[in-house]
Symmetry: C2
Subunit: 391 residues, 2 copies
């Protein structure tokens, strides 16, 4: 007979999920109530405000999609894009490619602007593409590429899109809560994120938000949204204003308890403090990594503090390193993805996991494992280099 499942306690320093704050796990295990219960309606109102805070927006259409970030991406595309539309997509990693899949499955045209993996999106190239495609309806890009650790200039890209009368769709799965992000100030029209990165919540939910301009576009579509489940015209009826909520689908009650608690924690800390904390521990990690002699894929100025893509030393079996870290230290770091598969490790410093203990554990364990494998690194110096930063 199959038994109950009891996982090890891991330290999660991969590309997400990240370590979940025990307060969030506890919140998630509170008694389930109905999705139309007045208490739950109250929770929904608070959740909306908390997501607005995290996104720095007043957008009315702000809510958690009842599925992971990939579904949040799809929600943005299927609601704003109609068959025959043209979308300019800046791709500098895996997730731009996924945007292309979304656009093409709607029967729309994706104009790809390719940047090297590990570089930030080149604003000048995006401008060229918009000039060459005056009929483009939307500019889409990834703010923080989880596959490479590159941060792009969302503010400049949004300004550019506005100059060309384009809406913007922005992937902030990895940036939300870890890097500065200001939806209203920057003028983002549609944004999606995930719960399992810098919010340190369990995976499975995708906060999204749409500007008034985007809502107008959704309300005036010529065709029905191709996904019934993700149709914001219908979802709005449940997540709309006030106590009158129309049933659309059953909300994932306990997962929303968890997200609520994650956002309460973020608000307690304060966004600016959270952003600063990610920078601080990234600096310490980077000092250790570089002291070992390893290097970063992304230039320092474009580097995400929460996602560190680090090159693998010559001749090392990278999978064996990850496997040993997991077995000996219960420590998870991530493999490379897409074009960087086999070439980098991705070390996450996200949300609750972004702390001094984890930085020192990661550096110490990586140093020890690489040294035991006789990898060409400077052994035994990483932890001290990080401690120097902490002072």
């Amino acid at each position: 007979m199959t038994q109950s499942f009891h996982p090890n306690e891991r330290t999660l320093m991969g590309p997400g999920p990240s370590d979940v704050n025990p307060r969030i796990l506890e919140a998630m295990s509170r008694p389930t109530i109905g999705h139309l219960d007045p208490q739950f309606i109250g929770l929904m109102d608070e959740l909306k405000e908390l997501i607005q805070y995290a996104f720095q927006t007043q957008n009315r259409l702000t809510l958690p999609v009842s599925a992971p970030g990939s579904a949040g991406m799809e929600a943005c595309f299927v609601n704003l894009v109609e068959p025959g539309d043209k979308v300019v997509i800046c791709q500098n990693g895996v997730f731009g490619g996924r945007m292309k899949e979304n656009v093409e499955r709607i029967g729309a045209t994706a104009v790809m602007v390719e940047d090297e993996w590990g570089k930030a999106v080149d604003v000048a190239k995006a401008e060229e593409a918009l000039k060459a495609n005056p009929d483009a309806k939307i500019l889409a890009f990834v703010h923080a590429e989880t596959s490479t650790g590159a941060l792009s200039d969302a503010e400049a890209l949004c300004k550019l899109a506005q100059q060309h009368d384009c809406l913007t769709i922005v992937d902030t799965v990895t940036s939300l809560g870890g890097s500065p992000l200001k939806v209203d100030e920057w003028g983002i029209d549609a944004i999606y994120s995930g719960t399992q990165k810098c919010l340190s919540c369990t995976p499975g939910i995708s906060p999204v938000s749409f500007s008034e301009k985007a809502v107008e576009v959704i309300s005036n579509r010529k065709t029905k949204v191709q996904s019934w489940f993700l149709d914001m015209n219908l979802v709005m009826g449940y997540w709309g204003e006030g106590a009158k909520r129309a049933y659309h689908h059953t909300a994932p009650i306990n997962a929303l308890y968890a997200l609520h608690e994650a956002l309460v924690i973020l608000k307690e800390e304060g966004l600016e403090n959270a952003w600063a904390r990610h920078q601080q521990h990234h600096k310490a990690l980077a000092a250790g990594v570089e002291a070992m002699g390893l290097s970063f894929v992304v230039d320092a100025k474009d580097r995400l503090p929460q996602l560190n893509a680090v090159t693998i030393p010559e001749g090392v079996d990278e999978a064996a390193v990850r496997s040993t870290l997991l077995q000996k230290y219960n420590l998870e770091i991530g493999a490379g993805l897409g074009a960087l598969a086999g070439k980098v490790w991705r070390i996450g410093l996200m949300g609750y996991a972004c702390n001094q203990t984890n930085v020192l554990l990661c550096l110490g364990a990586l140093d020890a494992v690489l040294t035991s494998m006789k990898a060409p690194i400077n052994s035994g110096v990483a932890v001290n280099a990080a401690l120097d930063i902490y002072g």
Copy 2:
């Protein structure tokens, strides 16, 4: 500052979510691990076997969709239906209408076979429709209509579909774990369910399964599946056989811990025992309801034990009754939906919530509230009528 959320402990006897077994809440709050962690891969293998057991199938393509039942429905339709296809849908409640929405948003044709709300699907009418539409590719219907409490003869409908060379898509959101359901024996091709009904798990996940014939149709599509997130050709890469799992989207780790525990509990009890338990407590509830002088929407022979649609006595403010039950007894029962809105209450007896204590609480509380409102019922007899059944 927004505070942590602390819900009341409710007794959930609506149309779902139902009361969640505390073992499941505890399992859900175990430490999050990575979605590619070998321990998690082990959990996935077990989950697949457990869902196969619950569905009574050997289908290889059996997995939990990372979103609620509505997304499970959409997964079945967008994978099997292509633009221009014809689908015969038997509608006898709200959820058949949702199937129509799904089919039409694919650019396919829905041929509707309408049955009265509260009746089982009429197999003879379905046969007429299939004869009149020899080009139909799929027959779709709801096994257990959550909006009315009617159970349809899935075995007969599947046999009929096979005679007409049609695939079947079957909604078992409310039947799974509560009523006999045998995917392989009946020859169901695509099936979806939910976690928050008779599995007594938290809402948010949708178990699905596809026959070999259905997998072949999905593999040989002329067009790409319109949803990237729900594309089984891609999802299979992650949920496929063995240890080699390709990343598609981040699985909702803790929600899957919960579903695993729910299915372990179901297997411990045994499917047949669970089905019998639902019948037993339904009989007691029905005796009490009828002793009060209230009646059922659905004929006894087609009645779902887990979803009891009960008519509202003349002159009673039905919303006030539900509100009082919630406030005074922390008891949730459901309102009517669609054509039955304002005409019935829906009393759920699902999974963990299907027990003697809940039956007696519900009858006693309903009796007391209706009596206090001077409703035209036989007061003070309901609980004893149920106790007579328990003997």
